[in-house]
């Protein structure tokens, strides 16, 4: 099925039209003519390079934001479709070596990505829990006629829950004692029950599953095709290599952005430089790695921009509430309303994008499964399980 049937929803209008341009070109690649094929291969690589460059050109405020991640997922879907179009109708070639092996390898890799998609769903659910806390915060402080002790205490409780909810699992035990100090009026009762809250948000994966290991398995052994292989496969080997890297990068970036069990980003990108998309992919990789090393992001549960925003405005709000003396003077009240507005912005952004993004992740899952099934079936070999 051509790319026309998915409803990706990148936030910005420009990105939507950018990708829709590409969709038309996917149609033209379903041809068996050999000149068309080499053109198709070139186009595919150029598209990949362009998409990655576009993602890379995001401002520091946009990089790894929810809308950026949505664009990333759309990019994967389009590239996957293009790749599939390149392989369609090439049954003969796919049944010969080395293409047979390369295609099987790609689909094996893509199956590993499925587990990551499922883990990301968990992460999205976790962010949804934080969204709920923000909602309580807003309920307490936003649009109230008067801000009294009741509202502030309610807000404080929500902030404590949020803080505990955002702790990295590894850290949570050591940090609890530190958190004690900042509890103030709310007492021990509060902390205990919030820890229960946090613990019950268990991952749906087993304790031993690791996103870092999964990434390593996906990125393992992606070897650039040799000239004789490229010749023997009429260039399709290059398409496979390209798609392998697109898959690897997208999954890596997802793990970087969204909370999941045992996130580790120290994986290698040994891209052969001669490919036109090598530059953009490496620069993106670099940018994201840099972000992960920043002091205030190092211990974050995920590099998603909005997670950072939540951390920041929660911190501000906490400090503010702690400094509040009732009754509020006008200045203080203004400050509160200002901070509330910050929270509202993050809250709205999350509320708008989480559900669509979850659907997109699911769509990625489906596309991978469908294209693997179609391709392996058409290759017609009795497969070993």
């Amino acid at each position: 099925m051509p790319a026309a049937d998915f409803q990706g929803s990148p936030a910005s209008h420009t990105s939507r039209s950018f990708l829709s341009l590409r969709r038309d070109q996917v149609h033209s690649m379903d041809s068996n003519d050999s000149t068309n094929q080499s053109q198709g291969l070139e186009t595919f690589q150029r598209h990949v390079a362009d998409f990655l460059a576009d993602l890379s050109s995001a401002s520091s405020g946009d990089l790894l934001s929810l809308s950026w991640v949505q664009k990333l997922l759309d990019v994967f879907l389009v590239c996957q479709e293009e790749f599939r179009a390149l392989l369609s109708g090439k049954k003969e070639e796919l049944n010969r070596q080395p293409m047979n092996r390369l295609v099987n390898e790609y689909f094996d890799r893509s199956v590993k990505a499925l587990d990551v998609c499922n883990a990301i769903r968990d992460g999205i659910e976790q962010i949804r829990q934080w969204q709920m806390q923000l909602e309580i915060l807003l309920c307490a402080l936003d649009g109230q006629k008067s801000l009294g002790e009741g509202q502030f205490r309610r807000a404080k409780r929500a902030l404590i829950d949020l803080a505990i909810g955002m702790l990295d699992e590894k850290e949570s035990n050591s940090v609890v004692s530190q958190r004690n100090r900042s509890f103030g009026r709310s007492g021990v009762n509060r902390e205990n029950r919030s820890m229960e809250n946090h613990r019950s948000l268990s991952w749906s994966v087993s304790r031993s599953w690791s996103a870092a290991r999964q990434l390593q398995a996906i990125g393992n052994n992606i070897i650039a095709p040799r000239p004789n292989e490229i010749l023997a496969t009429n260039g399709l080997a290059v398409a496979a290599y390209t798609m392998n890297y697109v898959l690897y990068f997208v999954i890596w970036a997802l793990v970087a952005a969204i909370p999941c069990q045992d996130r580790g980003l120290q994986t290698h990108f040994h891209v052969a430089r001669q490919f036109i998309w090598a530059g953009p992919i490496l620069s993106l990789h670099e940018k994201i790695l840099e972000e992960s090393k920043k002091r205030d992001r190092r211990n974050s549960t995920g590099l998603l921009r909005e997670i950072h925003e939540i951390e920041k405005c929660a911190r501000h709000m906490n400090a503010l509430i702690d400094s509040v003396n009732l009754p509020l003077n006008d200045e203080k009240e203004d400050e509160v309303r200002q901070r509330v507005k910050e929270v509202k912005i993050v809250y709205e952004a999350i509320k708008e994008s989480l559900n669509p993004m979850e659907r997109q992740v699911r769509e990625v899952f489906h596309r991978i499964v469908r294209s693997r099934t179609e391709c392996l079936d058409s290759m017609g070999r009795a497969s070993t399980s």
Binding site: V111, R121, S146, E149, R153, S204, A382, S383
Partner: protein, 581 residues
Amino acid sequence: MEPPEYEAAAFKSAEKIILRWDSTASEDARERMIFDGDRYEINSYLQAVDDVQRSIESTTLSDDQNKASSAIQIAMARLEDEFRNILLANANPIEIDALLDINVLNLNQSSLRTDSSSGDFSEENLNESGLQDLGAIDQSRRSSASYRSMLSIRELDLVPMEIVTDLRSIAERMISAGYVRECVQVYGSVRKSVVESSFRRLGIEKLSIGDIQRLEWEVLEVKIRRWIKAAKACVRILFASEKRLTELIFEGLGSATDDACFMETVKGPAIQLFNFAEAISISRRSPEKLFKILDLHDALFELLADVEVVFSSRSAESIRVQAEEILSRLAEAARGILSEFENAVLREPSKVPVPGGTVHPLTRYVMNYISLISDYKETLFELIVSKPVTGSRYSEDLTTPDMDFGEVEGQIPLALHLIWIIVILQFNVEGKSKHYRDTSLVHLFVMNNVHYIVQKIKGSPELREMIGDFYLKKLTGKVRQAATSYQRATWVRVLHCLREEGLHVTGSFSAGVSRSVLRERFKAFNAMFEEVHRTQATWTHIESGRHPENYIKYSVEDLENAVLDFFEGNPVSQLSRRRSG
């Protein structure tokens, strides 16, 4: 309208009660729980909350507003803790016996098809009358499915009624004070961990797709069987009961809280449950997986009606959708495996001839396989909707037989597939037969194998019905043809030694027989006769039951007589079958 002083007084006393129970302010308040105490204490607290809430709605002075809203917040924080405490005190996972309710697990008898072992859970057949009642309802599948669903869903009391009442009394107040979110969070977090511990008791594992791919299929078969039972218990009892609990506590209180609480509780676990079936549905195709995949498909198909009932709200859409997707992937997998199987039968490459021309393991495997397929006729009837991809009589591809669909007009697609499988099995068998150097073995092999096929078909009424008389006749004809060829190939060779020509000395008929030629001929005859007799004695001609003599025209006795005839001057060509039939 009460006079303001009265109201102020009511507020003051209510406020006092609430402040007394402020856990941030007093040790005593922290150590005791209101709802653990006596009814009077509980009621007066709840009354106090109501009074304060009322005064928020009526008073206009901002000072009082602040005091009231502060009091409400303290009360809400307290009620939240009470709510959690009550839930935790009643967080017992369902007893495993209740989960093994046989009526729920075995509503569809066909699910017992391949479950010959007892497994972890005990199984018994649903009583006959129950099934007959179902059959008597002459409605469309949908409505009979929802009727079945009503029968199969079993809502248990997870929490005693008086506890439910207490919970509801708290929820009511939290929701009307605008604290619904806190309420949902607390409820969800406690109940979800109860569901998770029930999952552990049911043996539902957290396996990733990668884990499942690495497991041997035999191991997976056991897990699938276990999953089917567990999934039925989860959807029909566990989830249904949780849903009922949220309805009892939250229904009618506004903000669709019952639904929100239900989803908080079960969404994660439900996804985890279905992830297993999803992983199975995307595993690599191979023929031995067909039947377990069909079992899984059938179980999920049956369960779907219940899933739609239990997960009926809008927010539960993703779960319904996931279940439907998995079902259609399982159907796809079944179709793919059948194609895979057909391909494998056609291309099965072994060239090593079976000693003695007996039934080839491939023939046995394929016939057993399609007998099993005919057991799954009902399901496959639904799933297999297109004709098999066959060769064409117009193509020059000699590696694929063709099938004339004209002769099997009106047969269901599944039957066409089975006929096709037999056609290609026969084709493969004939191909293999050519690897025998001994011509008689070539025919014996074909004979034995096609006969086996015929026997298997005749032995199963479902199979016979689907293969149909036309092809059955073709097959039996093939057996006869092979038998004739076999007979000729073996004995005619032997008898050839006794031919008349060349025996007489050139010249006249009346001249004597050349003694030397005769002697040579006898020698050859004896040798060949002995050899053929000896080797054929070691071959099994027909599978159990059949009499060899119907296929072997000449016995040793016959031949002895023939030789005698020869010497007595009777024409050898008058050898005939001495026995009747």
